[in-house]
Symmetry: D2
Subunit: 245 residues, 4 copies
């Protein structure tokens, strides 16, 4: 049984504004609820919290982050409303070893762009195209047990150029009916922290209900988690000569 | 004016067997002729040789390789007929700093699989699908001046998993009408040598006549070339302490 | 003759405070002067500007950056005094294709940490130890013509763990008399920009007067420069289906 | 309790020739015995086999490899005596997913050079210098619980340039008393297989008896192992269009 402590953050704007209409049919508990439910199925015994933009401190006070092995981040409409103090806190925890999964439109979140240093811009088109997710790193733990390819019947199209640093590991590449390609599953390391960005999952399509997608997200959590690690970001030191002898 | 010395190797089997029929309409000088012609346009002043499987020593005796800054390799039907002694020689020259461009079905050539250590297998389908070549490394010299994307109206489909080592640089990713994706432009470094693999270009479609493709190949040649470098593969040494002082 | 436009930025605090005493003996024109002089020797015909913290807008107004192919950054004591507006501007220019060389204690500059997303912390010791700079990427343009190793008789010791993202390319690794190692020459790509960090060069030792170091810096400039590129950072787009046909 | 199946291969020449004299004092069971003993301590429940050059088929018949999750390879004097048929077999198993740890002078083994495609040459000096092993990838599983640095009082000196492909992950960098540096812990992926090369460990010094070294090797085994994976190397396929729908 896993002892992993997982926090799913969602801005919750699509849910609170009931936009798109009908989202509650496939995501009755919201996007965060769907994610939490999938994690519960895939990682029995894990502790799964959810946190929302409208919660005090966006649901991410120091004590929650200190009690989180892996944080998932879903945002879209309200990136600008996320307080810089919370972004600072999440940033520090990632540098100290908290795992981070950034999902879909979270590419434009403050925390992701700050960790990467680029615009994280991309091309997009909302046209219910078919996305096909191909594994290009079959040895990667995140690809374990994942069919190659995974077919998502309808999804928002994301296309290159995706303005991210060269990923440390490129796990998945997607194609879309319109011919676009996208580096849809990529990892980064920052300080002591492991970061997985995974692009499938839009508010208009029930992507997070697909078993293969649940598996990928669970694999990402296992890969990013560093349970037992002391949560300390790297820091400058000034050792004397031969200090290590 | 460039002083680059370029050798285009082609097994020449499609040409000698006139298979596919009609290939001489778009490639009247053979695949090697088309490649040489494009290079001549793009790199004025370069010296461009061609060499064929049926030439003595496959057209690649020691003196030719010693006089070659960048070697292009196109093979398909006759990989097994390439003499191991020639493969050894090409291998050594790459390790010593000769640039190498491996094209399309050359992925299964002896020299490429030996340099990479993997099977270099892939999925393929001959269905005249549209290939769209996307740039994912806009800072890379090989992408300079290349439109994003490049559209190839008809091409053989190559798909992942492409069993290569993780590339040092991933420059292009292609999608195909059938939904497959392929890491179509990738670089590797071996010893002193720079290697560029570029997948577009099949015997059935006039891909090497497209200006954008000519540009990519010329960029690859410029990137891989190390003119003036002494052609010496790395070797073991046994220096005394403080030898460098 | 190169047409490269190069700007050398130095905070200038060591110079204005005459600390360390005697620095003006080996750097009579300041650190920026030494760097500019070396560049002038190595890249004849280049236009070399210098800019200082105390200049209006730190010497880096929009028109200067727009007229700069490669910016060198040397800072140590006054990182916090660099105005965020200037950091924003430099950041945008790098994303748009301006080359950036960050030198030595510039690892803690605002612009470098923002581009990388990490603390960029390290261990250090000011003990006039010998640094030996080893090439581990002999195919890299920055290593061209550089002896392996380069010996720096006295230098500040920098040691791992250096909290940077995994570099895109690791060109040099240094050892120090005290036994520390440091990834002393590393590259990153951000947006359209190429970044080279090179650690040798402290205010107390005349490192920038060494010919091999001048060569490395000139190589870095050539590698990072993208003359002729339109200076535009990547941006989001929303193309219609089949836009590229 | 681990169910991992581990095979330690040693050419066994230093043992059979009693050269260097006295090796049996610190390695009474040979190098393979020391490695097996360390693994037994670190990975309780693992099945650990040893195999020697002089065993039939070098102790590596098909049924042994098929029953091996991770193979360790130690060789030095007799690389040329390893039968090509055995090298072929090991190569295929790695491509199919068997983990491989190559140790110290195994850098020149047939199987390692075949997997990497380079000369794997380096500089060396047998001078009982102190080696200090620094972690540069603190997020990597192989570095988990490993002190930074690890000090090896006496070891053969290995120095750059180490002619390997750019590693997929650089975990450890070593310095030596003589000032050399070496990329001493590096990973590669080939096909379905994970490969870890770790340079410490010479026949003249009791390196494999150090607890930190045992920990690194055990971490490497855990990282490289893919228990439960069907042992199949990637292969070419020719699917029809829409095969995945």
């Amino acid at each position: 049984m896993s002892q992993l402590r997982i926090t799913v953050w969602n801005e919750g704007v699509h849910e609170s504004t009931q936009d798109p209409a009908g989202m509650d049919e496939y995501y009755p508990g919201g996007i965060h609820g769907a994610l939490a439910s999938g994690i519960g199925e895939q990682i029995p015994g894990a502790t799964v919290r959810t946190a929302l933009l409208d919660d005090p401190e966006h649901g991410l006070p120091e004590e929650v982050l200190a009690d989180t092995d892996v944080l998932l981040w879903w945002g879209h409409k309200a990136h600008g409303q996320v307080a810089d103090a919370v972004v600072d806190r999440v940033h520090q925890h990632v540098l100290g070893g908290m795992g981070l999964l950034v999902l879909h439109s979270g590419h434009f979140s403050k925390v992701f762009t700050r960790l990467l240093g680029t615009t994280c811009s991309l091309s997009w088109r909302n046209a219910a195209e078919r996305e096909v997710v191909w594994t290009v790193a079959p040895t990667h733990p995140i690809a374990a047990g994942v069919p190659n390819p995974v077919v998502i019947p309808e999804q928002e199209t994301y296309g290159e150029f995706f303005d991210i640093p060269v990923p440390d590991e490129l796990v998945f590449i997607s194609s879309f009916s319109g011919g676009e390609v996208f580096r849809s599953g990529v990892t980064f390391h920052r300080g002591q922290g492991r970061i997985f960005y995974f692009s499938p999952g839009d508010e208009r399509y029930p992507v997070y209900n697909q078993p293969e997608i649940k598996r990928i997200i669970a694999n990402g959590i296992h890969w990013a988690a560093r349970p037992g690690l002391e949560r300390t970001a790297p820091a400058v030191s000034n050792p004397t000569r031969d200090w290590y002898l």
